[in-house]
């Protein structure tokens, strides 16, 4: 295996007023896990080698043909020792990360709630709505094996799950998203500004904003715009809003809104963004949400979606199969089915014009890169900071 770059230590993560506190040992645990994640991305390269050197030749010898479906390829790989070992370690590591993050946030659950409530008090920029519930597809699974998902509150005002998310993202991505874990938001806002300097959005919507980590860079890039982040997870909204207040943002609003049924006027946003959101929706809802996006986007407006890459014709069957790993093994079930959707067709079916469609690659901006975080680290598809972006002008 090639030499690895080292992830930054947990001391480098940016703190803010509502960020969960960590003891010496809790930081050490996170340092171990960040290193383990980097290590496992190297181990994962063995899967392709096992496929090419062992699994594929054995299948061809037995059946006189190559694999024709992902299912039969997956059945064969499932018996391979390296794939079993990497998968078991990968799943184990995700569970350890959750346990580590949850134990440290739940031990300070009430403190976090008190701090968040203080920052949120009297602010009209946090709009919760008891009538809005998480949709069925969010209740059916705990995305990325986060027990309780985005919406569970152990007591009124509990924000532990959001704080766990904020504290642990650094670990899962080995710090590659930067000290505020906002590399995705920085990448998209820089792309828009650099490629469309004439674009001056007045009203921007971020759908499925979670704790707002990717919303804030957009708000910073366009300080004159009104930026609204929506989500159905109350802990995420409470925590995200308090976090934005702590970091000094005055042009962001957080609202409890369900994306397929938004209370906004038609054509009332100049830019509608989603970041790693659609793969956590559902087979029917994705169309309903895209139609709502079309309705709410002003003529001449922009909508961009950062997502896992869709399957392409030149992607090998093996690559399509391995990119599905997180769907079934890291509780991201819609990830796989969504891969089969052509994003251009999805957008056209929801009203957008094919000739205004675009697809770009965006590398997350990492403000912690001191030159040692080389870009040639092997890609672990589920945890890579390099994303596909699709979208359209209206």
């Amino acid at each position: 295996m090639a030499a690895k770059n080292l992830p930054p230590t947990y001391d480098h993560i940016a703190h803010h007023e509502v960020f969960p506190q960590t003891t010496h040992d809790e930081k050490a645990r996170y340092n171990f896990l960040a290193n383990l994640n980097k290590h496992l991305s190297h181990v994962s390269q063995g899967n392709a080698v096992a496929f090419k050197n062992r699994v594929q030749p054995a299948f061809k010898k037995e059946y006189g043909r190559d694999f024709e479906t992902k299912e039969e390829l997956g059945d064969a790989m499932a018996k391979d020792m390296h794939y079993q070992t990497w998968s078991a370690l990968r799943r184990c590591t995700m569970e350890m990360r959750q346990q580590a993050g949850r134990s440290l946030t739940y031990r300070q659950a009430q403190e976090l709630t008190d701090k968040v409530n203080k920052l949120n008090e009297g602010k009209s920029s946090l709009v919760l709505d008891d009538e809005v519930s998480p949709p069925p597809y969010l209740l059916a699974v705990d995305n990325h094996i986060m027990p309780g998902s985005y919406h569970t509150e152990l007591f009124e005002g509990d924000v532990s799950n959001a704080a766990n998310y904020d504290g642990g993202l650094f670990v899962t991505t080995a710090g590659l998203l930067g000290k505020y874990s906002d590399g995705g938001g920085q990448a998209i806002s820089q792309w828009v500004r650099n490629n469309h300097p004439e674009f001056k959005p007045k009203r921007i919507l971020d759908i499925g904003c979670g704790m707002g980590h990717n919303t804030l860079p957009i708000a910073k890039m366009y300080p004159d715009a009104e930026v609204i982040g929506i989500d159905t997870g109350r802990p995420m909204l409470r925590y995200g809003h308090a976090r934005a207040m702590a970091l000094g943002y005055d042009n962001v609003k957080f609202m409890q809104v369900e994306a397929s049924n938004m209370p906004f006027e038609a054509e009332s946003f100049d830019w509608i963004q989603t970041t790693m959101f659609f793969h956590e929706t559902g087979g029917k809802s994705i169309y309903n949400i895209m139609k709502e996006i079309y309705r709410c986007l002003a003529p001449g407006g922009l909508t961009m979606h950062i997502e896992q890459p869709q399957y392409t014709d030149d992607m090998s069957l093996y690559e399509k199969w391995i990119r599905d790993w997180d769907a079934y093994n890291n509780s991201e079930p819609y990830w796989s089915k969504m891969h089969d959707i052509d994003p251009k067709e999805l957008m056209m079916e929801c009203g957008f014009s094919g000739d205004k469609y675009m697809q770009i690659g965006a590398q997350a901006i990492n403000d912690l890169d001191d030159g040692t975080q080389k870009a040639d680290e092997p890609e672990d598809h589920g945890r890579s900071p390099i994303w596909n972006v699709f979208g359209a002008w209206k």
């Binding site: 010496h24 645990r29 340092n31 070992t85 799943r91 699974v141 089915k337």
Partner: protein, 120 residues
């Protein structure tokens, strides 16, 4: 708070859906999970020891013999150290906690959940 949260119990909760197992023998996979958790706690202890040694050396404070002879000097200290062991064991045994939760509340597999979600 009246009812302190059992943060270590909650920390190990299983997420929705059946846990995937990869090895032919799930018992082997459980052993791997326990071993990895032990590895992690060893790393944590090692980092702490490293910190201590560097600080102690820098301040010229302690000798190795004093460390070797130490015993807890109060019930409180004794309890703290035992509490640590108890939590440590819970961390290491996470995978067993989750399989017991599944025993009590058998779950759908992720394939079934994916099919459901595709219709939502």
């Amino acid at each position: 708070m009246d009812n302190p949260i059992d943060y270590i119990g909650i920390a190990g909760n299983k997420p929705k859906g059946q846990r995937p197992y990869f090895f032919d023998d799930p018992a082997v996979e459980r052993v791997l999970n326990i071993t990895m958790a032990v590895s992690m706690e060893l790393a944590v202890a090692r980092e702490r020891v490293d910190t201590l040694e560097r600080l102690l050396e820098a301040k010229g404070v302690l000798t190795r013999e004093e460390i070797a002879a130490y015993t807890p000097t109060s019930k409180e200290i004794e309890t703290e150290r035992q509490q640590w062991h108890s939590e440590y064991i819970s961390r290491i045994m996470r995978v067993v906690q989750q399989s017991m939760e599944d025993l009590e509340n058998p779950d759908k597999s992720l394939q079934e959940i994916a099919d459901d979600i595709n219709k939502m």
